[in-house]
């Protein structure tokens, strides 16, 4: 840390400590101007610009004419504004049109891959969260022989890195004849997640048992209690894990790369990488690439618009566990 503190000790050290003056009840620090705060805001602005600029550059390039990009590579606005790049990657442009705007002639069936991604990420997320929830319930609420032992074994799996499973799981999926199928892509990660089970169990243990017991005494079955009472009360963490799981599955690259060799079930993230690698080295279709990139990122950005606050809180929350 000392290296950061050196240049302007006064200003930075003041920043690096959390509230050094008592806060007012509303939790606001004093808002009058001070050099320290100015530098701090400047830092935040720089961080925000560096964070957001690549997204803007995606947008700007995607709406540019790929030929004209060479002429004016530094322009902050799209060069020769056109929807052509999107038409190209969506397969709506004719060969001549795409070549005229500097496309490589190669296209990417983006809607097909988008659908694959939706199926892959949704099924995988729903399955893993559901199976984790019912398992967590068994660990949190039921009394059975071997429960504690089984739980320690699952917990140990949390500590053991999964790197060794990649190659053997590929061989297994191949032997099962599931290469290039959704089943092969989804199954290995759809059943068991030590983290999810642990996380949900901890939460369920914190729930009051009184309502459940009342329902049981009133004659409701265990499953009814699980689905009608415990599950709704656990909806917060379930949504948290679903969002984080969906993001992970949507962005997954390595596993789909191993088990798919053609376009049939390939998700968009992987298709995009293939598209990037197959674009000509000499003069890549950057506008087309950025249009495809934007389409691949769009669902995540929409998810963010809807669940932004929830995502931010989820991450802080899972971190504190």
């Amino acid at each position: 840390m000392t290296t950061i503190l050196k240049p302007t000790p006064r200003v930075t050290t003041e920043l690096l400590t959390t509230p050094e003056r008592p806060r007012s009840p509303r939790g606001r620090t004093r808002s009058r101007f001070s050099p320290g705060r100015a530098v701090a805001w400047l830092y935040i602005v720089i961080v925000l610009v560096v964070t957001v600029f690549p997204f803007y550059w995606m947008l700007r390039t995607a709406f540019s004419n790929n030929y004209s990009l060479i002429r004016d590579p530094g322009s902050l606005l799209p060069v020769d504004f056109t929807w052509g790049a999107f038409a190209r990657v969506l397969g709506l442009a004719s060969q001549e049109q795409s070549l005229a705007e500097g496309g490589s002639g190669a296209s990417i069936q983006i809607l097909h891959f988008l659908l694959n991604s939706v199926i892959y990420a949704t099924v995988q997320t729903v399955a893993i969260v559901f199976f984790s929830t019912i398992a967590a319930y068994a660990f949190a609420r039921l009394r059975w022989k071997g429960r504690d032992l089984m739980f320690s074994i699952f917990l140990a799996a949390l500590m053991v890195p999964g790197i060794l499973t990649l190659l053997p799981n590929f061989v297994l999926v191949k032997d099962l004849g599931l290469l290039n199928t959704f089943a092969g892509m989804i199954l290995p990660t759809a059943l068991f997640s030590a983290f999810n089970i642990f996380f949900l169990r901890q939460f369920m243990l914190g729930l009051s048992e009184e309502i459940e017991e009342a329902a049981l005494i009133d004659g409701a079955g265990r499953l009814r209690v699980l689905f009608r009472i415990t599950l709704p009360m656990t909806s917060g963490p379930i949504i948290t894990l679903s969002i984080l799981g969906f993001i992970t599955a949507w962005n997954d690259y390595f596993w789909p790369l191993l088990v798919t060799s053609d376009d049939s079930v390939r998700p968009l993230t992987l298709a995009l990488a293939v598209f990037k690698q197959s674009s000509p080295q000499a003069s890549p279709d950057w506008a087309g690439l950025m249009a495809a990139t934007l389409v691949a990122a769009l669902p995540m950005l929409l998810l963010f618009l809807v669940f932004g606050k929830r995502i931010v809180n989820s991450i802080g929350f899972t971190g504190l566990k």
Binding site: I44, W57, I134, Y253
Partner: protein, 317 residues
């Protein structure tokens, strides 16, 4: 474990012994728990056995074999390990990976910590935190594609700027010297916000009264940051550190999209080399051996993490 308790006292009891089998196993409500429990954990158990335990053990076995996928593995003892020790490319991959991990950790942790602390001090606005989390939401492939366009040596916007300043473009992803730093930069860009949010959440749990006490005792700002903030944050920092190290050791997608390990193996990280051996040359046995080596390293890191966390507990309590 009182057997005959009225409902009220049983509830009171259950809050006290929660987690240790709160309710009695002989009560009618728990009579069929055993059977139901096995049904409920069956999917997870199958997943654990078939896709985690079995492949892990099989991975260890395969690392002692010569296995080319199409023919059954033949046991070769320690041949793969002997080969590993003499494999120059493996050692250079390990070096490249460690270099990448160091850059990502030092640079990433510093920026995340400073960002979290500054944010915490300035604003609790969720929008700002929301924006810095954006790169975490997109895939490594999207991030890598976008940055390889921005870092392009001819048309990249970053090089436009650098050329204005120095007159010389930098071959970010195309030169041996810059390949790994550039990939580390992309990786830090992608994960910084996520880490900062976790650290930020940790900062929010530190009660302000601690700082008031420190001030009364006459501590200055530097002392308070080093003696109060850092020790109290240590469990969180240890976790972020280990997540970063473990994640960085397995970096693949950014490398695959930007440099494919080149130029001349300059960015050939371990995971890339393993992939190349196993799926490029179908040398699964040797790929498994290298995975086992990486596995051992990650286990050691995880072990050190637990030490680090425990040390922090005795420190702060």
């Amino acid at each position: 474990m009182a057997i005959t308790a009225s409902r009220g006292t049983r509830a009171a009891k259950s809050t006290r012994v929660r987690g240790r089998g709160a309710i009695n196993s002989h009560s009618p409500a728990h009579r069929h728990d055993g059977r139901l429990a096995w049904v409920l954990i069956a999917p997870a158990l199958v997943g654990f056995l078939v896709f985690f335990l079995y492949p892990t053990l099989r991975g260890i076995y395969l690392s002692f074999t010569d296995f080319k996928v199409l023919t059954p593995p033949t046991f070769t003892g320690f041949d793969n390990f002997v080969r590993l020790f003499g494999d120059q490319v493996f050692w250079s991959s390990l070096g490249v990976t460690v270099y990448f991990v160091l850059l990502s950790v030092v640079f990433g942790m510093t920026v995340s910590l400073v960002t979290a602390v500054v944010l915490h001090r300035l604003t609790s606005n969720t929008v700002v935190r929301g924006i810095i989390i954006l790169p975490f939401l997109i895939s490594g492939v999207v991030a890598a594609t976008t940055w390889s366009w921005m870092l392009d040596s001819q048309l990249g916007v970053v090089n436009m700027l650098i050329e204005q300043l120095t007159g010389e473009p930098i071959m970010f992803l195309g030169s041996r010297a810059w390949a790994i730093p550039s990939i580390a930069m992309i990786s830090v860009w992608k994960s910084m916000g996520y880490n900062a949010i976790i650290i930020f959440a940790g900062l929010q749990t530190i009660p302000p009264t601690i700082y008031e006490a420190g001030r009364i005792d006459g501590a200055n700002e530097v002392q308070m940051f080093r003696r109060l903030t850092l020790p109290l944050l240590r469990p969180i920092l240890a976790m972020v550190l280990v997540l970063t190290v473990i994640g960085s050791f397995q970096v693949f997608d950014i490398v695959a999209v930007t440099t494919k390990g080149g130029p001349a193996n300059a960015s050939n990280v371990l995971q890339m080399y393993i992939y190349d051996k196993a799926f490029g040359q179908f040398d699964f046995g040797y790929g498994a051996t290298m995975s086992l080596a990486l596995f051992a390293m990650l286990i050691i890191i995880t072990f050190l993490q637990m030490r680090l966390m425990r040390a922090s507990e005795s420190d702060t309590n």
